[in-house]
Amino acid sequence: MNVRIPILKLRDCLIVSIQWELDDQTAIQFQEDLLKKLHETSARGVVIDLTSIDFIDSFIAKVLGDVISMSSLMGARVVITGIQPAVAITLIELGIRLEDVMTALDLENGLDKLQLELEG
């Protein structure tokens, strides 16, 4: 049941698409895998696409928030893309603020935003 989330490299960015409901173990494993991959590839940006995710609880939000801070410590920028309306609504109602997190509507916008950020 322990499946790993694939992390793809495109030029100087890593692209992650989370395609199924995250359990705790998979989420923690992903955190580690992403940081290792950043280290190996010297990527400067990461896009995490959440289009297929239909809910985020406080645990997954914390893992995401942490991985963004950790990536930033390693010198990489992270952009979160594809947050669905239902996810945005429940996160705010739940009282979770993902502050200072770069977001974009979809993967394409996310990559554009990241490129601008990395060039600027």
């Binding site: 359990d23 809910f55 406080s58 645990f59 109602e93 009282g95």
Partner: protein, 133 residues
């Protein structure tokens, strides 16, 4: 599926099982995607509280009808230590587990009705209902 309406919470995997059960029932009842997300998230938070604070307990999912409204009730019970200061845990931003679990105020906001009974040394019983409108 409606015959299995509860999940024992013993491990992290049971949190996943509980929210899947809740989501399925919510879908069957005809809740829209936003309410399904609210219900699933509320179950996840309650199940995680049980796992973190009580060690073990149970999540029950019940279909309820009242005043002509159909709804879904999440019943989270445990025989854990109980909550010493309910007023405090119902304050936003209060969590004793190092930021894990957005806590009960969040669950209350996600659902329509929320009731908590807790006794020190005996356990906690939380009932949260969402009505289909």
């Amino acid at each position: 599926m409606s015959n299995q309406s509860s999940v024992e919470i013993l491990t992290e995997w049971d949190i996943v099982a509980a929210r899947q059960l809740g989501r399925n029932v919510a879908k069957e009842l005809g809740f829209g995607t936003v309410d399904q997300a609210r219900i699933t998230t509320a179950i996840s938070e309650l199940a995680r509280n049980i796992y973190l604070y009580a060690g073990q307990g149970k999540i029950e999912i019940q279909r309820v009808t009242e005043k002509g409204l159909n709804g879904i009730m999440i019943i989270a019970t445990d025989n854990g230590p109980g909550i010493p200061d309910i007023r405090k845990v119902m304050e936003d931003g209060f969590s004793t587990s190092g930021g894990l679990g957005a806590g009960l105020p969040g669950v209350k906001r996600l659902m329509d009705d929320f009731r908590i009974d807790t006794n020190l040394g005996e356990g906690t019983d939380i009932r949260a209902t969402k009505w289909l409108r």
